[in-house]
């Protein structure tokens, strides 16, 4: 457990730093009167028009989803790699089946044009 002591120290320091900055900035902040104009986005003095929430292509979302799926696939490689010397051929076959099933999905995504930007 002592191995994670450094993590705990970082955690405590982070909480203290952020808390300290928030408290200090609140104390030092001159209490000016608020004005709605101050909260607006600054666009070189031009009054902003339109909405920041413009529709974005669903492809960004699909790309992120696909990344996540292969991210999880790679996570499974870690426990496999550290015991590979014990499993040898059997472990290799097990992983080939796992990766093979996912490769089907990869080629399906490729064939459907998930990696194209049109």
């Amino acid at each position: 457990m002592t191995a994670y002591l450094s993590l705990l120290v970082v955690f405590v320091l982070a909480v203290l730093l952020i808390g300290g900055i928030l408290v200090l900035s609140h104390l030092l902040n001159p209490q000016r009167s608020t004005n709605p104009a101050k909260g607006e986005a600054y666009e070189c003095g031009i009054i902003p028009k339109g909405d920041a929430r413009a529709p974005v292509s669903i492809r960004f979302f699909v790309m992120a989803l696909l990344f996540l799926i292969f991210d999880i696939e790679v996570v499974f490689l870690f426990p496999w790699a550290v015991v590979y010397h014990k499993l040898m051929l059997l472990g290799w076959i097990e992983m080939v089946i796992f990766l093979g099933i996912l490769l089907v999905g990869y080629f399906y995504a490729w064939g459907q044009g998930a990696f194209d930007w049109k």
Partner: protein, 164 residues
């Protein structure tokens, strides 16, 4: 160690409640982040370092970021207007309460064994379990991921049909 368990246990619950009761989507996602991080630390405390770090990397790192991107992409004002779930909301509530009651009954009826686990969450131990005793669930996980890929592709396909 018990102190840390209570600290991060309470933080996890605070995060979960925040997700439930926060109506602002971005704040809800950040509460989810708090929940995931606290659970990651709980895994560490349960001597499962690999699971703990994967929890923080994949859940806190990737999934919450994906949620935030999805929130950014969606038109939120339209979501807020039809927030009333009607019958589905009621059913969800009933099923949720039923699930909670069942879990509570199981926990009360059965003695939870005092665990002082061997380091089962190290990558080595996990690998031996996954590629030995639990090989079938592991291979099934790949099929689950395949379904997720196909589900993601469907999003694009429907879009394309609309255009043409």
């Amino acid at each position: 160690m018990t102190t840390l368990f209570w600290l991060f246990g309470v933080l996890a619950i605070v995060g979960a409640l925040g997700v439930l009761f926060q109506t602002h989507p971005v704040r809800g996602a950040l509460f989810l982040l708090l929940n995931f991080l606290a659970i990651g630390v709980l895994y560490l405390l349960a001597r499962a370092p690999f699971v703990g770090f994967v929890q923080i990397l994949v859940y806190a790192g990737a999934i919450v970021v994906l949620f935030l991107v999805a929130i950014m992409v969606m038109d939120l004002r339209r979501l807020e207007s039809d927030f009333d779930l009607g019958l589905m909301g009621f059913l969800t509530f009933v099923l949720g309460v039923a699930f909670f009651v069942i879990v509570a009954l199981v926990l009360l009826k059965n003695q939870i064994p005092e665990v002082s686990p061997p380091p089962t969450g190290t990558p080595e131990a996990l690998g031996e379990w996954l590629f030995g005793q639990y090989l079938v669930p592991f291979e099934l996980a790949s099929i689950l991921l395949l379904v997720a890929i196909v589900g993601a592709i469907v999003l694009i396909r429907r879009r394309r049909q609309d255009v043409s």
